[in-house]
């Protein structure tokens, strides 16, 4: 199963994002990444097929996903 990383940024937002997605039935795990351009960022790991819906749900919840990367 392929996974996607939803790059969110701050720890607090990422945790709220995880809660929000889990309430909507989307499993999401928190990952801490070292991004060469931004530094330390938090991301949510979700199934590839769920990434689009997850991003839309988060936008509705006021959480901006900076970008979606393939799982590293």
């Amino acid at each position: 199963m392929t996974m996607k990383m939803l790059i969110i940024g701050s720890s607090t937002r990422t945790m709220r994002a995880q809660e929000l997605l889990m309430h909507k039935g989307i499993a999401a795990r928190i990952r801490r990444l070292d991004d060469p351009s931004e530094g330390c960022v938090r991301a949510l790991l979700v199934e590839d097929g769920q990434a689009g819906r997850a991003k839309a749900l988060l936008a509705e919840g006021g959480i901006n996903v900076h970008r979606v990367d393939d799982k590293r």
Binding site: G9, S10, R16, E38, V41
Partner: protein, 342 residues
Amino acid sequence: MAEAADRALYSCRSRAAELFGLEQPEGLIFTPGCTWAINTVLCGCLKPGDHVIISDLEHNAVVRPLHWLKQKGVEVSRAHVTEGDAGATLRSFERELRAGTKMIFCTCASNVSGVMPPTAELGELCRQKGILFGVDGAQAVGTENVTAASTGADFICAPAHKGLYGIMGLGLLALCGESRPLPLARGGTGSLSALREQPEALPDFYESGTLPMPAVCALGEGIRAVQQTGRERIRNHELSIVTYIYEELRRMPGVTLYTRCPRPGCHAPLLSFNIGDLSGSEAAARLAETGICVRGGFHCAYDAHVSLGTSQRGTVRAAPSMFTTHSQAEELVRCVRAAASR
């Protein structure tokens, strides 16, 4: 271990955000103390030429940054709080309004007298006039209804170590509206480390440096205890203690009281008094000899003592907690009687 700490931090933040009625936990900012939260609001929002109105009951956490800001060109006016008369208090604030008024900042309850200004009405006044409203919830949070909705405040400042039963060294700033003061400090946020600019996302924008995790965890448990016990139940318990003490001291020769009998909605549960012609500090020291823990002096709120008429001697302040028992209150009364008869 770091992830567990992150979870504990988020849990406490979420609890505190819920306490203040914030929609999202990001709007709840942890600060080094309530003083830091108040300074963030005042120094982060006010610029030379701005005008701010405060009450005549404010703590030095408000008075001193405004004194400094006044020297930088911010204008400061004081409105009088009339105990038990919301209308008179409101009119006093209204009289101070002018074209350049940017903010009203007011305590939710005096830490000297317990007198509570009409914050809901002041919040409505600010909303009508389109000006910012900040409140110092230090002596009210945990017993009184201090939320974004109940106060109409843009900013609520509070300490962890009073009515929320946390430990010293931590404060809370609830960002209830859209306004974003400039932060007092910039630095490491544990996020977006490659950026030279302070990250703009909340709460990182305001939380530079390492948070005091022991204090955060303690606060989380304190808020849980308050929520499980019930804020109103705590307030009613503490008020019953204070009103018992008040009624006993009122009849006691040699004891001076400075307010009416405390009642819900008008007074936070605390009481200032004096014994004979002792200063507040001397009286508190005498009570300490008998094992009674009270605070004597000016309580970092000299303005409030001027308003109360106790600027020459200060007062003794008794402030119960949810753990204070009636037998402890009886013991305080006995010790005050003994001190007053010496």
